[in-house]
Symmetry: C2
Subunit: 209 residues, 2 copies
């Protein structure tokens, strides 16, 4: 009765082939460059075949992103070992920025592009979706920092603080993704911008000892 297993294995194989073909195009040229026909050409199938494995184009690319996002989740596991919550916060921000810089197209699709949410998707999403996990990770750190009395007393809402922290780092990354080529801004080094943002945010949040 290993037939079903073999079938399943074959399904996964071709699914991976689709993702690999899409990854190449997506990483080097962005969302628009990935066309169903190009993917199909890459894997030597007809464009229609892809629809048997993925609902539509966006689903293909989101699957890609989630896969690559696992790398970030992996780094978070290391960061989780840092004892001091404020230092953990800093390390998290740095790792997040690194991810954004090295996967600009992923970042754009995941965090800079709105997309409609349906109820069914919502259910799907709630099991181990790495985006959500990352936010939960951040919120956990903030909650701990507040509980330890490390933040200014008026910053008592973990959700609000986490959202501010996220927004700060997101601002640096997304400006980089969208505007790095802009000639009318003398952009400073991305690493410098990341560092200053983290310094300013943390300085602005922590309680003076």
């Amino acid at each position: 009765m290993g037939i079903k297993e073999r079938r399943e294995r074959e399904r996964v194989e071709i699914r991976e082939k689709i993702l690999d073909a899409a990854r190449e195009l997506f990483a080097t040229q962005g969302y628009e460059a990935v066309t169903m026909r190009k993917i199909a050409e890459g894997i030597e199938y007809s464009p229609t075949a892809i629809y048997f494995h993925f609902k539509d184009k966006e689903t293909v690319l989101r699957a890609l992103c989630e896969a690559d996002f696992l790398a970030l989740a992996g780094e978070f596991r290391e960061i989780a070992k840092i004892a001091d919550p404020v230092e953990r916060l800093r390390a998290t921000g740095l790792a997040y920025a690194d991810f954004g810089l090295s996967h600009p197209n992923h970042y754009r699709l995941m965090f800079m592009t709105p997309h409609p949410y349906s109820k069914e998707e919502e259910m799907e999403l709630h099991k181990g979706n790495p985006e959500e996990d990352a936010y939960a990770f951040l919120k956990g750190i903030v909650t701990e920092a507040i509980a330890d009395g490390r933040l200014r007393p008026e910053l008592d809402d973990p959700e609000l603080v986490a959202q501010t922290m996220w927004a700060g780092m997101h601002g640096v990354i997304s400006l980089q993704c969208a505007k790095a080529e802009d000639p009318w801004v003398e952009w400073r080094d991305f690493a410098a911008r990341t560092r200053v943002m983290l310094d300013v945010l943390i300085r602005g949040m922590v309680r003076e000892s």
Copy 2:
């Protein structure tokens, strides 16, 4: 010899009609919803006619954005009257956030979408482009704050500080534009997020008295 003038007036008129038709679609449904054919239908011309007035679709929408951006520039003129540079910084951030919240599609096109830069455009851009003006306005405030010794001594690069300030506000706005509908984040009020971001940034930047 008023003929040339009349011709020019007619050109501007139809140009405005195109922009008006595009504005309606763009503001309510976003970039994708604006199609050359829909604009054409709205103004009762053929789609091709638009290309006589604008190079391509993106040019139409950027013209739209620049026009609406003038409103922000107007507010900046009021804000410029605030004497204290730090308070001026705060007011600028608030005005910028307000603009982003009330023109999400404009904001997306202007600041969240990369687009290729050509040398010729660069020349065009450099005369009174409102994006650049806004950044210059911000940089001016920061420069003044630094000169007045209001910021921490290590924050001595106006460009870097301005970019951090911008990134912080941009983070709040762009997350709002892209992720406000996300069900897996308990988003706090936009105004609250804006206020906290401004408080944290300014607290993290200003020198303790």
